[in-house]
Symmetry: D3
């Protein structure tokens, strides 16, 4: 049995809180069990050099962890430099969130999404995507209110969830203890209409059979389905 | 009149919440008005090289700000490197907290205090010291519980508060708007018995008369007196 | 029609050349069309700190590109620092190659695999894995010859190939031009027995239907099947 | 008795030498006992970005120590990077020197003050401020000579001195040996008219009584009074 | 006797291969015995800031070594940063190649020469210069073809070779084993008309007599004379 | 005619001052005309890792320039990082000084020579070598006095001087103005018995005839001959 009596296909309790960072243009504190991520969005009136004068906007993400977020304290990346893991995660978050909206409808604005993990118990990159998408939605609404955008562009809901194989069984939304002992590890970023945005699956113990991947994908579709309920809430 | 109808010698509403980072050995979320700082303490079983084999412990601090904590987003120091301001602040926090306890009673342990600003509205370094001291107290209590220390050493309560001169008048506990227009800026770190641990005062508009310093020091003594009430709470 | 009259399920011409770096313990120059990667393996008589005294070995990878390997010259990472993309790729290569062999049979040795791209025309990370695996095989054989290992441990053949969706059609082993216009991008790392080691698939144009993923996976299984023919060659 | 038979309120012998760096716009070699600091000023025809088009100038400082300046050789910061201590000191020097003159009278010029310690025997930051102010004065005079400024703006003399508590007694202008054993440490930056620009005082052995601070401030006022005699000399 | 039965004044077998990096504007793989260097040239339509609007071009070089190029693996400079040796070598290559052509005939173009050592067996800096000069020649020819230059400017052939004193005897073109045991080490960069561009000679075992330098210079003149035969080949 | 009415073969006025950095084990302020370099030597009781347990010592150098030493202020390398030029120079100084003494007679000590340029007017690397050698001599004498060495080992005097070709004429000891307009530039490091330690000569305007090199070498031999007179002085 999983911790908290969860069944294999159950998410941990989850919630979002809007506006926790009043200086940000949009902010969401997302909790997936004991994983807590603060997602803040800043809207800038310029785009990166490679998009100059193309009449479109951009969405990008940065990811960090407070040193005490993890079981054993992590070195502050302001001292040690960005790790490979951080690079990998923030690139994934950025790519995923750019699928939310037609960038040509954003004007020459950059939405910079900061995802900072206050407490980590597995699944921080997925929580960052799910929470970050809601913070982007909030920031876009505020842009309209403040006249920085003429109208809210159509949004594609985006959410992400982990799945894995633990003790031979496919399970959804792994906590840290499960993640540490999983034979296969996967992350699924999906859109509200059930399509895929990014999938990644990694053998931990040894190569795995493609059917296990299919089973994990089915769990993830069910899990993101529930997370899209958060899109009914608003900041 | 000050924002929130505060009188010149009034603190902003303040509170602390313990245990917000369960992986830390001690953690406190301190709120001074809209300034919110998360202070987490990690106890390590070793000391820095310069203290090797001297039979004493060490307390040190690191300070950071989430990018969206400030009015305009700050660059992540994991990308830009530690600023001079950050160096200055974390050295001040470390020096101040080392006054709390006789380091020779800590065994060969390092208490590493992470102060991360979630929202900034003036006075973040002072809030970090006041909150960090409570988090150290909590961590020491836990060390005793877990047998890492034979007994709780005597603790000297430490707290810090800012003062300044705004429009010619000495005021206590400046928020960001006041801080930006202050003619003189000061920070006072004091002990529970009314003595001084560190004082710093800086002319912003032009040199100032020593009497203004005395007036600020009196406000600060009154302010820290109230903050020491937090030492009755416990994590 | 694809460049070089390739069908959708065809690999580009590929070949390997062994021993091109005589100072390395194993080296392979792999060519997949105009993508040329030099893979060199160095065997060290120690393991990273986290594996100290666990009686096992380690395999790790580093990845680089010569500045003139790409269409427009890339900045030398010795000057600009490792990019996020490089971090991401070398972590993938390392994870994949560690699946080749039971690390507890390697003794306390580290196999350090350097993958340097001499010319890039799409698929450099996959070529690095396929070529790197052969270079590891060569290095292990040399370790046995030189008495650094008592016997060759059982090896799981590993190879990788890209797939994608271009103009609505799933295709195998994309070159740079195809990769630049693909709607979906995927990389598959597979073992000689048809199982999966790592799969990654990313929407470029917009979310995609899961069936497209299945079609790409089938192409990839066929492609890696051909690449495993390289395991009959020897250095 | 203090070294060199000094009384508690006596400065060490001090002197300045002008023009030691002929390429600089102003330069002063200041000696306070065995503390020797070379202060060079460079005038640039631009201001930092945040002052662009505000019609004012800027004064900023950098601080360094030759490796052999100290008892045990210090690592060269060109190799190790700027320490927190260096950041803290150069920020203090810059803030202090900006009080010398109404920046709006400098035109769009930056005065960059380099303070390099040739020999260190305590009080290097104070010597840097006292000497740096004289070098700025010299550079401004040269700007007028060369037509880069229409007229010399009014200058507020600035000087700095340390004070401390050693063996229970307040003393002025500590040398390294005294500084190492002081119970309280303080630096005072003052203006020629007896007002304060920056004061900093730090407990070393334990919290201290406010009266000790007052005693140190009185010593410092007397000490800077003597240092202002240097303003009669000229480069 | 030298390895490979070489006489004291003999070069190792040498050859060049053009066009190995199709994305570069000019590329040459040069082999001097077991030293193999890939030289790629990129032509950029701009010049460094210090040459802005002077109506001339620039030639600059970067140098690197693949980690497995050397007897014991070298740390990747993308991780460790550029070494002093690399700085020294790439500055030498750049200075030498700038002598090939009147820079005012290049238009406002920068030729960036990347020299990457695939295998190192002594003499890599000299091989980089000799090969780099041929790659520059190839790139200039291509600039004319593509209309980026009106006509090929007159070129001064440039080549470089090492010499040394081994066991008391002056020898030409040292391999790694000879270089490691040489008493004197020298590099000569010469022009096709027998003049000198750069000479460097270093005592390894102890100071040396000037006649030994003369003997090495004569060997080098003979050696570069043979290398200039490569200028008859073409890319 | 040269500045200061110097003939082509004349050195600028030169002098040394010993003991200017009392904390160093040896220190020399050398002046060659308006080039002033402070050379400080620190003796450490350990050797670099590659010499561990070989029973010999080491001599190494670091080189720096104060920002105001040059005509236009140089960026502080503590901020910008070590330049290629600095790397090149400090490697040259270290190699040259290691020729002074049989390293196996130094015990397991490292002599670390810091050469910091206070004012630069051409020839700073040569002045660093000449002054550094005298500072090493002073430090070795002090090691004997303090019992860190049993006896003074035999010393080979080392000195360095620049030469060049200006307006077609070979000249000795170039100042900055000459250096900037020289057609050929050279540095000669020589030993007291007239042998060579390191020679470097670089074409600035175009390739040069070997006879010019010979003429420069003769000037340099005469120049270093005079500099060796400094070895009669003592610290």
């Amino acid at each position: 049995m999983r911790s908290g009596e969860r069944s294999a296909d159950a998410l941990r309790p989850f919630s979002v809180e809007y506006g926790v960072q009043p200086h940000a243009d949009g902010s969401v504190l997302i909790r997936m069990g004991n994983t807590h991520v603060l997602c803040g969005v800043t809207v800038e009136d310029r785009v990166p050099p490679f998009l100059k004068d193309k009449g479109q906007g951009w969405i990008t993400a940065e990811y960090g962890m407070l040193p005490c977020a993890t079981h054993s304290r992590g070195r502050r990346e302001a001292v040690s430099g960005l790790s490979g893991r951080t690079h990998e995660i923030q690139r994934l978050i950025g790519r995923s969130l750019r699928m939310m909206v037609d960038l040509s409808l954003l004007g020459e604005h950059t939405l910079r999404v900061d995802c900072d993990v206050l407490n980590a118990d597995g699944g921080t990159r997925c929580a960052s995507i799910t929470g970050g998408a809601l913070a982007v939605k909030m920031a876009l609404a505020r842009m309209v209110e403040r006249g920085r955008l003429p109208a809210l562009p159509p949004l594609l809901p985006v959410a992400a969830i982990s799945a894995g194989v633990v003790a031979g069984q496919p399970v959804l939304d792994l906590d840290y203890a499960e993640d540490s002992s999983a034979e296969v590890d996967a992350n699924f970023v999906m859109s509200g209409d059930g399509r895929w945005i990014e999938v990644q699956s990694t053998a931990e113990g040894g190569p795995f059979h493609p059917q296990l991947f299919t089973a994990m994908a089915e769990l993830a579709a069910r899990g993101t389905g529930q997370l899209f309920g958060l899109w009914e809430t608003r900041g």
